[in-house]
């Protein structure tokens, strides 16, 4: 089963995304960047949904860098999620190898569609 890792400090948002993804995926969750990276290294998810702005040691962009520089994880698909108006985050994220980018509040239907599309690439 396709594994998807959700990294977001907001547990309600994680829950919403989990509901959106339904039972078609195995969904893993992390509430900060550091935990997320650990889970990624251990579980090797097919795709990571990564919040850019997170408190703690690693924010989303740093986690992205870590994934893309890890030989074992660099092919993992990454979709970034950020707050509205942070246009620079988008540019930075895409430059650093993200596969997609969503601005909160995002349409759950579009997110699911984007996840499926990205996985199919």
């Amino acid at each position: 089963m396709t594994k998807i890792l959700l990294v977001d400090d907001h547990s309600d948002i994680r829950r919403l995304i989990r509901i959106t993804l339904g039972k078609a995926f195995e969904v893993l969750e992390a509430e900060d960047g550091k935990t997320g990276l650990e889970i990624a290294r251990n579980q090797k998810p097919d795709l990571v949904v990564l919040d850019v702005m997170m408190p703690g040691e690693l924010d989303g962009l740093q986690v992205l860098d870590a994934i893309k520089s890890d030989p074992q994880l660099k092919h993992t698909r990454v979709i970034m999620v950020t707050a509205r108006g942070q246009a620079r985050d988008y540019e930075i994220g895409m430059e650093r190898g993200a596969d997609g980018y969503f601005i909160k509040p995002f349409s759950p239907l579009q997110l699911v569609a984007a996840i499926k599309e990205t996985l199919a690439k």
Binding site: I13, G85, Q86, K104, P105, F106, L109
Partner: protein, 492 residues
Amino acid sequence: MSHSDALDNSRPAGGQTVRLSGSTRDAALHDQLYRYAEDLQQLIERNGALEAHYQTLRESTALLLESREELDELLRSSRDIHLVTDAGGNILQSNPAGAALAPAHLLMGCKLQDRVLPAYLDNFAALQAGAIEGIGPSGPGHEMHLSREAGDASPLIVSAQALAVRKNGELCYLHWILRDVTSLRETEFETQISSMVFKHAGEGVAITDIEGEILAVNPAFSRITGYAAAEVIGRNLSLLSSGRHDAAFYAAFWRALRENGNWQGEIYNRRKNGEIYPEWLTVSAARDGDGGILSYIAVFTDLSRLLQEEKRLSFLAHHDPLTGLPNRLLFQDRLGQTLSQSRRSGVQFTLIFIDLDHFKPINDTFGHAGGDHVLQEVARRLAGTVRECDTVARIGGDEFVILAPGLVGDTDIGSLCGKMIDALRQPIQFDGHEVCIGGSFGCAEYPNHGDDEVLLLKCADAAMYRAKAAGGSTYVIYDAAPGSFHKLKENP
């Protein structure tokens, strides 16, 4: 609730920031939930649309099923024969109407073309090829005559269509639709024949309603009566009445029609030009299914031509075709009549025999044409000389006879014979030549010289020979005294 507040990292850390951060998180969740609600609404709408579509699909499937059953029912109850054959014409299926051709169990497995009468095999082949090549049904269909089960000699006449049934582009069946047009064609044929007879019959035909009002007439009607169809349609047939028949005649005519449904007989009618003519009329009633009279059909033959022909034949039988004078037959008839009249009335008459003098040389010199010309001229001169009541007849090659009622006595006989001798002595022109003849006249009187035909003819004949012996161009009146003849005028 500005996001920019939440994202302003330059703000100093502190309780306010934490508070603000908490409110930002709520706001983000709130906004995200709102997006969820929007998507949910979209999903609900899409679901509604899908459900509606599903319902439509279900209904149309049901309709499809229903129409499929209706189609089957239509085929079952169709009066047209529906046959399914393979491409080779082998019959695989038939609807009940196929029984007109043969019972179903006899049709199955047979070739359709084995049922097609030879003259129509080309039509069959054209239909079959047309369907297979996908040209499709061509026009209203071809006609074919099919043989029914043995024992039924009359063919089944069908208007046929063939359709190819394909699956995934591959031909699997031919669907034949055969419409029985047998009775239609037979009726058409009868109608055609009837109308041909109506149009081309030599007999005049008029169709009237039960009151005698004319509904239709044929060309022969117009030819005989002189009335065009448009002039008489809607008028009563009685417009042809000649007035020669009385009311009782017509009453009997209509009674026969009402009671027996037909009348036949000779009737005098009047043409448009007023001429009255006899016709042989047959009137028949046309009845409806319940036996009620719908109309009358009057068929008539113009008898006037026949009567004329009869007269002509009679004239030919009684006249000399060369001169137009009465011939021996008619002369004897007239002589017989004159005799019997004279016997009753006591009126005397004279019989004059005439034999032409010098006639034979004319025939020898100028041939028959010359002889005929002379005979015709003689006939004209004799007929132009005698009285109106006299009969001039030609009874042999150059022999003529005159029957002159009331002519008696040497003076009167001599006067008439003298005129005729003079008339015959005038030269006759023929083909640039001038020929001269004469006549020897022998006369016998009734009742002085005989009181029957044989005796009178014998006397006249004998007197004529005397005139001939005297050199011709003279007349001799028979003398009852043996060996003596009355001679009034000598050869000049």
